[in-house]
């Protein structure tokens, strides 16, 4: 392991790897990435793999749209020999309440104004896209054909390999234990395999970002929450879009490999770092899916697992440098949608660190917004 580096990145999820690649591609190659387990071992490798542009705030719409454009060309951009398994089968978001219909209409207006081609469908039109959809009680659905899926392991690997080929050092099974600060400035990162002298650290530790904040004495306004998810055996393709419902609180998609991946949020889930599993989850989610997408009842569930959402008070990420500690950057608190916006996050954060013009202003996503009371609540999260 290097003893000194220009930048040290903590976390080998999709965000850490995307930042690493972008720094190197912009010329900053003296970068070390630390991952306490293996790449994608955190939320990234446990997530629902969905990428959508149908958001309710301008910031998320722009981040997601620009990221989707990057996903569409990622294999070429990163000269990746594998496949990221991009599937643009759309996202169908179901509305069961008048309130939801109104919100979706507002969202679609915003999305369309930003060049995202989403539309409001009638239940009949929704059924044309998902013939096995039970439309009982359905009022309408928001749909964008260009949304979809990419394989998080492959995307992370693609970024990591491209970063390595540019000179980035990636150390797996290496844990950051402490960050040394002298006279308000970062001097060193301590790991279980030795120390690295540096002036710049990026906190991309996902569900453990609060612990990294503690190391520099910053109380970060984030917490972690377990989210459970399950997968069926693979079958021939019969569901094109990701189907999600805020009302029933679930998401469900068929990935290119053939399996169905589905999950739900649990309003009673306690905060913390628990990633165990519960039988209630399997039962509750199966009931919803069996009701809304009946033929899926005939599929066999092969596994359930869980991962951590890292959540902020407004469900929007924090992407900035800490004002209190120059050189301490963070890309944290993705609140359950960090995979789909990782390409743009990695790019803009690298630009920020290198003092370049930003491809997109992210000043609203700074840490100070919570103290200033300038939250940007996102109405459309699962």
């Amino acid at each position: 392991m290097k003893k000194q580096a220009e930048v040290v990145i903590i976390g080998g999820g999709v965000v850490g790897c995307a930042v690493a690649y972008n720094l190197a591609s912009m010329g900053c190659k003296d970068v070390v990435l630390l991952e306490k387990n293996y790449l994608s071992s955190g939320a990234t490798g446990r997530c629902g793999a969905g990428i959508r542009q149908q958001w309710g705030t301008e910031m998320n719409c722009k981040l997601a749209k620009a990221s989707m454009e990057m996903f569409e060309n990622l294999e070429q951009i990163l000269a990746y020999e594998g496949e990221i398994e991009l599937k643009q089968g759309g996202y169908l978001i179901l509305a069961y309440k008048e309130q939801e219909v109104k919100q979706f209409q507002k969202n679609i207006e915003l999305q369309n104004s930003l060049g995202i081609e989403s539309e409001l469908l009638t239940p009949e039109e929704a059924k044309e896209i998902v013939p096995h959809l039970n439309t009982k009680g359905l009022l309408a659905a928001s749909y964008c054909a260009r949304d979809g899926h990419a394989n998080p392991f492959e995307v992370t690997r693609a970024y990591a390999q491209a970063a390595q080929s540019l000179g980035v050092e990636i150390n797996t099974f290496t844990e950051c234990k402490d960050i040394i600060i002298e006279k308000g400035k970062i001097t060193e990162v301590v790991t279980d395999k030795g120390s690295i002298k540096t002036k710049t650290v990026i906190n991309a530790a996902g569900g453990y970002s609060d612990l990294i904040g503690d190391m520099v004495g910053l109380k970060l306004p984030v917490y972690s929450e377990r989210h459970q998810i399950m997968v069926t055996e693979p079958v021939n393709s019969f569901q094109t879009p990701m189907v999600i419902s805020f009302y029933y609180n679930f998401y469900c998609q068929q990935v290119p490999h053939g399996s169905f991946i589905m999950g739900q949020g649990d309003p009673n889930e306690p905060k913390g770092h628990n990633i165990g599993h519960s039988w209630q989850f399997l039962q509750e989610l199966s009931k919803k899916i069996n009701h809304v997408l009946p033929p899926l009842g005939q599929l066999r569930i092969v596994r359930q697992w869980s991962g951590l959402y890292n959540i902020t008070p407004d469900a929007q990420p924090i992407i900035c440098q800490a004002e209190e500690i120059p050189g301490f950057y963070m890309a944290i608190g993705f609140s359950g949608h960090g995979f789909m916006i990782a390409p743009m996050t990695g790019k803009v954060l690298a630009e920020m660190i290198l003092g370049k013009n930003l491809s997109m202003p992210l000043d609203k996503l700074d840490l100070g917004r919570f103290d200033r009371g300038e939250l940007i609540p996102e109405p459309s999260v699962v």
Binding site: Y38, V231, E233, H277, W279, L282, E284, G297, Q298, V302
Partner: protein, 94 residues
Amino acid sequence: MDDKIIICFCEDITRAEVRQTIKNGATTLDEIKRIIRCGMGPCQGKTCEEMICREIMDITGKKKEDILIPTRRPPTSSILLADAARSDNNEKTS
């Protein structure tokens, strides 16, 4: 010839593919699983895990006890989603 042996029956992964993945640097069951999918299928690693362990030991010189076993997760054997939905022990849901 030996290399054409299928190690993972769920995902059709050969011994050669497993060995190549280990040689490329993935030396834990969890990493190998996330690259070539062995252990992700209906058997959840019950058939292949032991064989992959042996390949890891052979190539890396690791000892059996140093090879971490991936987390065991339900269901123990695959279950129909409709059955999971029916397994109602107490409450009624919408």
